[in-house]
Symmetry: C2
Subunit: 441 residues, 2 copies
C-alpha cells in the first residue's frame, strides 16, 4: 500500500468530463505532497492507499478552489469608502488621495490579510492581485497559504511606492527575480491602464519582458470614455495602441473589456488574449458590460474577478458567479447565455488559464495541486431543495455553504472558520484603519 | 411611569429624516402592544417607561423590516428545478406541469413555511404572495408570524386550485371576506397576467372589486414578447388594454414592467400605479430591465420583489437590493443611479406604499407596527470596514448580519436562528418534496 497524506471521502465531487464540470459520486480523492495523487472509487482507495488522515465528508461536494482573476486585495480597507459615484471622481477624489496618505507596507499587509480571509471563507484559493508593495502582499499570501499571481503596479505618476515608470519597472524586476520558482506566488507585470501609462514606459516594459517573460495583466477598455479619449490622444483605441507597442507579444490578461468591437474580438483571438470579467465592479461603477457570451462563442478564454472591495463591495466569488450569470442573460436577452456550466468553468479552469496556471490548478484532476473546496450540500434553507448541484451553487446564493478549503493540500478553512488566519485579529487591525481613514475624510 | 412591553437599546437605528433613511444614534425604541410607542433618548426612555423587557443591542443597528413586494412563496420547493432556459419553455414545460402534478394544500404549506424561514433570516418581515391555495398560505403566515399580502390567483385555465375564471373569482371573494380586518394578512386580487386572463374575466374582476375594493397585483409588461403579442391579438399593448378594461380604477401593483414607453410612464403617473421591480428574476429569465431610475425621477412609487425561488433562486431581499443598485447603474451608465438611499427606500417604505400598508409598516416611526430587524454592525470580515451603514448593508453582501427580527413586536429571529419555525422540520419536509419532484421529472 502506498503511503499518502490525506484521503477525502465526499458525497460527490465535480470533475471535468467531456470538457464540462460534472458531479461524480462514490469517489475518493487522494492527496500526496500537496497534489492530487489519485481520484478513485472508495473501495479501490482503501485497497491501494495507507493515509495519515481520512476525512469523511458525507454531506459535502468537493469542487476545485475558485480562482479570482482580478483583485486589489488591500483596498478591502477602503470597502465602501465612496459609493454611488463615477469612476473618475471615485479615483481622483477618493481612492487616489486616500492611497497617497495611507498606503504603505502595513496598510497593504492588513488589507491583504483581510481580503484573503474573506476569499477563503467564500471558496477562493487562487487570487490575482494588482497593488502597491506586492512584496508585502506576497508575504501575506505565504502566511495565509493562498495561491496568488501578483502583478506589480506600473504607472507614470508618483505614489508612495515609486516615483515614475522606471522606478516601478525596476522594483518589478527585482521582485520577480526574487520570487521566481515560488510554489505559491507567481509574479507578473501590471501596467495599470492605457490612460495611466505612457508609450515610453510601455516600450520599456516590453523590453524588460523580452528578458523576463512574465504574465501581464492590465485594466483595458473599462469604459467608453477610455476608448474615446484614446482615439483623441493617440488616433487609435487602447487595444490597437497596445498592439502597436508590442504588448500583445504575450498572452495578456485584459481586465474589464466592456468595449469590444468585432475587429477587437478578432485581435483578441489572433493574439490569444484572455479576458477578465468583473461584472459587479463594472455595474457598480456603471462602466458597461463585457460581452461574455459572444467571447465564449468565439473561443476566447474568460475568467471572473471581483475587482477590489472598494468597487464591489465584497470579494465573494460565488456571488460574482451569480451576477455574471444573470448579467450575461439580461444583456443578450438570452436566458440560456452564461449557463451554470460556463460560469463554473470561468471561475475555475478558465480562470486558471487566464493566469497561465492551468497545469497546476482549476480542476480536480490527478497531478494538479490539491486546491479544494468542500461545499455543504444540505442543511441550508436558502439553498434547498437542490435539484442540480452546479446551478444551485451559483444561483441560490449561500456563502455559508463553504465548509472547508485546502490549498496545496493544507487546510485553510475548517467548519466554516479560518485556520491559518485569526479572524479577531483581522477585525482588530481593520478597526484601527477604519478609524484612521474616517478621521482623514 | 408608563408600562410598556419592550425597550430596544441599539447602537443606532435608521429613521426617515427629510424623506431620507438616516442613521441615528443614542436612541431607544419602545414597543407596546405590537406597535412602536416611542423613539427617544436613552435617558428619557428610562425616566418615562417601565418595560417588561429591555434588550441591549450594543453592536446592532435597527432597520425597518424589509418588504418583499412580489413572491410565489411555495415555489421554493421548485428552487432551481429548471435553470438557464427561456420564460415560456420554463412555464410550459417545467413549472406548470410540475404544478399540475403536485400543487395542493400540503405542497403550499410546506413551500410557504420554507420561504418564510428564508425570508425571516434575511430580514424580510412583510411579503406579497401570489399562489394557489392562499388559504393555506395565510395559515402559514399566521403560524410563523409574518406579515403578508396574499393576492389570490386568477387565471383562465384550470389548475389544481380552480377550473376557470369564475371559479378563481368565487374563491377570491370568499377568502377575502374571511380575512377582512386580519391584523397580519391582507387579501388582494392576483390576475396572473394579460396573456393568461381574458377580457371577460378581467371585466368580472373589475365588477367584483367595485364591491370589494381589494388591492390588485398583476405580472405586467414582463417581456417584449408579451407586448408584441398583445399588439397582435388586441391591437394595443397590455397596459392600454387593462386601462380600457377599467382595471386601473385602483392603484394597481404592476410587477416586472421591463417595457415602458413614455406614454405608459405617463399613464402610470396618471393612474397612480405602483411598480414592483424584480431585478434578479428579470435578469435570470432574460426578460429585460425595468427602467427604475427613470420611474423614480418621475415620482412613480417602486418596490422590490424577489419573485419566486424557481426564477431567482433565492428569496434574500438584501441580495436583491444589491442587484437592483448595480443593475440600475449599468443600465443607465450612471453610477449615481439607484443609490443606497433610494434602494433602501424601495425595500422599505416604497414597498409598504406598493402594498397600501404605509400607515402600518415601512419605517421605524411612532405609531407604526414594530416590524424591526437588528443588523449586526461588526464582526464580519466580509462587511468591514464600514464607513457608511446603508451602502455597506446593500453593497457588501453578508446575509449573516441579520441577528434578530420582530414582527408586530414579536421576535421571530434571535441570534440568527428562527424562533417561530423549526429549521430542521422545514428541511425534513423539503427533502420529501425534493424526492417526489425528482422522481417525476
Amino acid at each position: 500500500m502506498k503511503k499518502v497524506d490525506l484521503i477525502l471521502q465526499p458525497k460527490g465531487l465535480v470533475q471535468t468530463v467531456d470538457n464540462k464540470p460534472t458531479l461524480e459520486t462514490g469517489k475518493a480523492l487522494i492527496i500526496l505532497e500537496g497534489k492530487i495523487e489519485d481520484i478513485t472509487s472508495l473501495d479501490e482507495a482503501k485497497k491501494k492507499y495507507d493515509s495519515k488522515e481520512i476525512i469523511y465528508l458525507n454531506d459535502h461536494v468537493l469542487i476545485p478552489g475558485l480562482i479570482n482573476t482580478h483583485n486589489h486585495m488591500s483596498m478591502s480597507l477602503m470597502r465602501g469608502i465612496a459609493d454611488d459615484i463615477p469612476l473618475m471622481d471615485w479615483l481622483n477624489n477618493h481612492i487616489w488621495p486616500t492611497e497617497m496618505k495611507f498606503v504603505g507596507p502595513k496598510f497593504v499587509e492588513d488589507g491583504a490579510l483581510l481580503a484573503i480571509g474573506e476569499m477563503f471563507l467564500t471558496g477562493t484559493t487562487t487570487c490575482s492581485d494588482m497593488y502597491f508593495f506586492p512584496e508585502t502582499t506576497a508575504k501575506a499570501l505565504e502566511k495565509a497559504g493562498m495561491r496568488g499571481q501578483l502583478v506589480t503596479p506600473i504607472l507614470d505618476f508618483p505614489t508612495t511606492y515609486a516615483q515614475d515608470g522606471d522606478g516601478y519597472l525596476e522594483k518589478a524586476e527585482i521582485f520577480a527575480k526574487k520570487y521566481s520558482g515560488n510554489p505559491l506566488v507567481n509574479i507578473g507585470l501590471g501596467p495599470h491602464a492605457p490612460y495611466t501609462v505612457g508609450d515610453e514606459t510601455f516600450k520599456k516594459l516590453v523590453k524588460l519582458n523580452e528578458k523576463m517573460n512574465l504574465p501581464i495583466q492590465i485594466h483595458l477598455h473599462e469604459t467608453k470614455g477610455e476608448c474615446d479619449d484614446s482615439l483623441k490622444s493617440f488616433g487609435v483605441r487602447p487595444m490597437e495602441r497596445l498592439n502597436q507597442l508590442g504588448l500583445f507579444s504575450w498572452k495578456v490578461q485584459c481586465v474589464h473589456m466592456t468595449q469590444m468591437n468585432d475587429e477587437e474580438i478578432d485581435l483578441a483571438i489572433k493574439k490569444d488574449l484572455s479576458v477578465v470579467h468583473c461584472p459587479e465592479s463594472n455595474m457598480k461603477l456603471a462602466s458597461g458590460i463585457c460581452p461574455v457570451p459572444k467571447l465564449l462563442k468565439k473561443g476566447i478564454n474568460v475568467g471572473i474577478g471581483t475587482d477590489g472591495a472598494a468597487s464591489n463591495n465584497d470579494l465573494n466569488l460565488l456571488g460574482e458567479m451569480k451576477t455574471a450569470g444573470l448579467l450575461g442573460k439580461v444583456d443578450t436577452l438570452d436566458p440560456t447565455a452564461c449557463n451554470a456550466e460556463e460560469i463554473f468553468h470561468m471561475a475555475t479552469l478558465g480562470g486558471a488559464k487566464v493566469l497561465g496556471l492551468q497545469d497546476r490548478v482549476g480542476e480536480l484532476a490527478v497531478g494538479k495541486m490539491a486546491d479544494i473546496v468542500a461545499i455543504k450540500e444540505e442543511g441550508f434553507i436558502d439553498s434547498f431543495p437542490n435539484f442540480n448541484f452546479l446551478s444551485n451553487l451559483i444561483y441560490a446564493q449561500s456563502s455559508q455553504r463553504v465548509d472547508s478549503v485546502w490549498v496545496s493540500g493544507k487546510r485553510v478553512v475548517k467548519d466554516g472558520e479560518l485556520v491559518t488566519l485569526n479572524k479577531d485579529e483581522l477585525l482588530e487591525r481593520t478597526k484601527i484603519w477604519q478609524e484612521k481613514l474616517s478621521q482623514s475624510s
